[in-house]
Amino acid sequence: MILSIDSLSVYLGYKEILKGGAMSFTANGGEIIGILGPNGSGKSTLLRAISGIIKNDAGRITFDGKDTEPLKTKERARIFAHVTQSEHFAAAYTVLESVLMGRYPHLRRFENYSAQDIEIARISMRRLSLEGFEKRIVTELSGGESARVAIARALAQDTPVLLLDEPTAALDPKYSLNIMRVARELADEGKIVIAAIHDMNLAMLATDRLIFLKEGTIISDRASGDVDGRILEYIYDIPWELFTTGTNNRKVAFPLE
């Protein structure tokens, strides 16, 4: 399973948000890739261009050698599940109904969700510790709970590629780790997980590879273990200090004044 991004360029008005000259990488099945970079560096735009929510102006996205550009929206949603940063629940659906919507790309015209779809939705909910939430109304959930429902819906989509835009922003440490553990399980099943993350330590802990963006350009693409103070300082314009923890040799990073 190979997702290949080749010279991807996206304009917003006259501004090139993703600069095609340095916007290429390849993701393999089994990998968790973290996208890091300051606000406005193009992380969300990159994810949105990959899933096809926005159109790219130049460059190519191929999945297993097939160009994703000519695919229908529904076909694309069977390859990419995308949890955007702006997921919110506007209507009083139950949690089960909401997660079931993730099965929509697998439905044929006029077809209704089957017992199997419901089973898949339930499994996705279980993976995010949402047992017992089935009949809860989504508009009445806490921020963290709704974030998990949105991720469960993406899991129910059962796609080879999962795109997560700051999935842990609304979550406490326990559920952040829960999400990243689920991401690892998916990667172990051979899927590709690409996540924009702001939490540097979570990113170094839970991903295999980190892609650093700055001003729409890929500055660095390296193994998560290879992060050092120089790249972080260059990306975020502030000095960083890195430690190795005593307990399990984990690398941690702190921004300095």
């Binding site: 929206t73 529904k74 069977r78 919110h88 629940f89 209507a91 009083a92 139950t94 929509y104 819906r153």
Partner: protein
Amino acid sequence: MIRLGTHRVRPMWGYLVLSLFLLISAAFGLYMGDVEVTLDKLFGMLMLGPFGKTDDVFLQSVVWQIRFPRVLSTIISGAVLAASGVAYQSVLRNPLAEPYTLGVASGAAFGAACAIIAGLPGVSAAAFAGSIASLFIVWILGERKNAPDISRIILAGVIVGSILSAGLTFLKALAGDRVSVIVIWLMGSFSAANWLDVFPLTLGLFVLLLFCASNMNEMDIMASGTNAASLGLDLSTRRLLILGSASFAVSFVVSRFGIIGFVGLVIPHILRILFGPSHRSLIPLSLIGGGALLCAADTLAKMLNEIPAGVLTVLIGGPVFCAILWNRG
């Protein structure tokens, strides 16, 4: 959408109660009227059919040529308005949306007023043309950027509606003594409904069922507030299909029977509060409920000296809505 209590009523109860309400309303609609008729005579006429041989040809034509098409017209119109209202609110994701949001009503009113002033015969046809034309303009304006921003479409609808309302006022000022004809048209009435109205209405209903009501999963996704494209929904196509067909159906209603408010705005809200937002139950319930309410309102209107049915829908439904809103706060 409105915040709701956690408890939903089972849709089964809705089907049961609303169907019963529909049957009773239809029965009253056939029974009530200027010509008095006993129940068994009415039943006999219904059994006999419109072409059966009888010595009471007058009563036969009252039942089959006047009351039956009128009852049918109100039921179909109510169903179309309520189901369109559901679609509008879900697709535009706005609790204030209703079938007239995209300028269908103001377009119809303007078209009708033009025809009345010019003294043309086809007032309904002009109203229909007006509503389709304004819908077209709103759509072109709203989708110009092909952006997924729904507020643009709503804004386009509001602005085109305002221009047409101003145009209507202008026409009224010019109309002289014909202004009363315009005002009466605007109030709307089913009193002149006949079989020739039922056919276009049925066509509208059919289009609505085929292209709008069949998109239940799609409307669920659009109403839910998630990014529909990432779930594989082709937004602009679906929007055009759902709102276009709903508006087309509503145009038939508005152009013939005037602007009937409330049914398309509040019936969807009431049903959503009671039965939850899932379109699998919401759409059929709104078809039955809207039909029943408008039929009941029109029957009452008939009994009250033919006051406009649109006034009664608000007078009956408004307080009911207030009560539900209060209880479910």
